[in-house]
């Protein structure tokens, strides 16, 4: 079963999404990097519906809070991530299926570390339970 990872990446934190894609080498796993104007563009419903697509792991990469171009964007994204994790726990899904990293814009070594963290997380979690129950995935996506 092929797995899929979706990364929502703030365009300031990851100015070159191609570089991030190039770091990815997990052959069977499909990676999608979606550039966003700020990590705070990604809302809770978007994270949940992405998981319900179904996607095996959803990750948000933002800037360090003090470097956020929208001042409060990165801070707000952190709050949303915590809320999403709590919600996932309540409905019986692993909260670890969503994750967030903060980087200093242009720090390529940090991006490499994030890719390795994502690969490790995906390995330990395995395929999403929503893949095994496609109807459940559709229901989750509709919520």
């Amino acid at each position: 079963m092929s797995m899929e990872v979706v990364i929502y990446a703030c365009q300031q934190a990851v100015p070159d999404p191609e570089a991030l894609r190039a770091l990815w080498s997990a052959g069977e796993v499909r990676l999608r990097v979606l550039p966003e104007p700020c990590s705070s563009k990604v809302e809770v419903f978007q994270l949940l519906r992405t998981l319900g697509a179904p996607v095996d792991l959803v990750w948000v990469i933002g800037c360090e809070e003090q470097l956020c171009r929208f001042n409060e964007g990165s801070h707000r994204a952190g709050g949303r991530m915590a809320h999403t994790k709590k919600y996932l726990q309540e409905i019986g899904l692993e909260p670890a299926r969503v994750g967030r990293s903060l980087v200093t814009p242009g720090d390529e070594s940090a991006l490499a570390a994030i890719v390795s963290e994502i690969s490790g997380r995906l390995k330990s979690l395995g395929p999403s339970p929503l893949r095994r129950a496609p109807n459940a995935g559709a229901q989750a996506a509709a919520t």
Binding site: L34, P37, Q46, R76, A141
Partner: protein
Amino acid sequence: MPAKYHIHVRQVPPRFSPLAKSTIIDWAEGCLRCATCVKEQCPVDAYRKRGFDRSQFVDTIDEMCRDCYRCVQGCPRELIFKAANPQYRQMGDAYWTPEILATTWYQAETGKIPVSGAGYGGPFAGPGFDSFWTDMSEIVRPTRDGIHGREYISTSVDLGRKPMFLTFDSNGELTWPSPPLLELPLPIILAEPPFAASPGGMQDIIIQAAGNLETLAILSRNRLGPVPEETAARLMPSYTAGSLDLDDPLLSQLRTLEILDHPEVLEQIEAVKRRYPKLIVSLKVPADGKVVERVAELTAAGAEVIHIFASEQARGLGDSQDLHLKDLIRRCHLRLVEDRLRDTVTLLVSGGLALAEHVAKAIICGADAVIVDLPLLLALECRLCRSCAKGGKCPVEIETLTVKRGAQRVINLIGAWNNQLLEIMGAMGMREVRRLRGEVGRAMFIEDLEKEIFAPLFANREVETIKREPN
């Protein structure tokens, strides 16, 4: 009077949400819970209708938003922003810009002319086709209004060799048979794009659209499957130097074909014409440093149709990369005028024709008709990610598109382009696209304006400044 040529456009909604130019950032945290939220006052009700596109992982609110900024300005806690959408900006490349992609999608969906309605905010002039303007001095004449005017504007063009004179015998009959000529109702020929997620499906879409538009479809003979007889009349198969087999049964059903230029091409054409005298043969010539000489040579030798092909970015090939297609067309056209052979041959051009205005401008520079390829792929919602060219998955699943739906989107795009051509010609006071060919007197080139108008103006200003300074 013959029936007025009309392209029947029909709304074909996109299968995937088109990426919006800007995106809404909605910070709900810290909301004051006003009695009437600005989100409820959205004129298009985007906040209530918003959903999630599971194939692209995007919030559909941006697709609905009309950029009125009512919510942005109205929120008392300033929790809503608009920002440029980086996913939109990253589409295409430096030539095939996101704006070109978005405008092509709109035309393929609606068949309508894209109108911004808020004036033109772009630069005064740019490179390539943006370096000249068409003369719109007749725009006030209502009878010649492009689409709806009473005077019919013809967009028909002829493909084939035109004799410079005729000879008759004593009975008044022509002493030699007139060469074959093919009339197309619009100066646009469809061609297979250089890449596509589903080349077979793309060919079927182009054939169907060409049939509906009554134009031709240029497709590679190597990739072409069995062709029904009724389809063959709309085909212009493209052959490489050594791939043309005179025993190919398809040849007897065709009206025209295309051969890539090579040193023995004239002998090859002679052999084709001996066996199939009614076939019109087009020669595909690269727009390199030798193109002007080659076009002149082939025309003098009796070529019927010459197709000059440039790069995807409308640049010359090989040692002519610094030249734009418009300059190469002009040079070829003027050389044929000098040789007094211009009217004998049909010049087709392709490469980098991305917008409706490029059709009119290529014709003004001297082409008889244009060949369009990549915009046909864009009409099918292509994002120009070129993933298919690398063997990857198509993000908009072009391989699952039905031929009927795809063909209608192509028809819509060409319908919108044809209407724009009519509008341009109406505004120029032209009634026939044949007369637009090489009509540079109806265009203004920035280099000429700079030389003739701006240079003297600014030179005088400089003198005035110098004069004033001592005081």
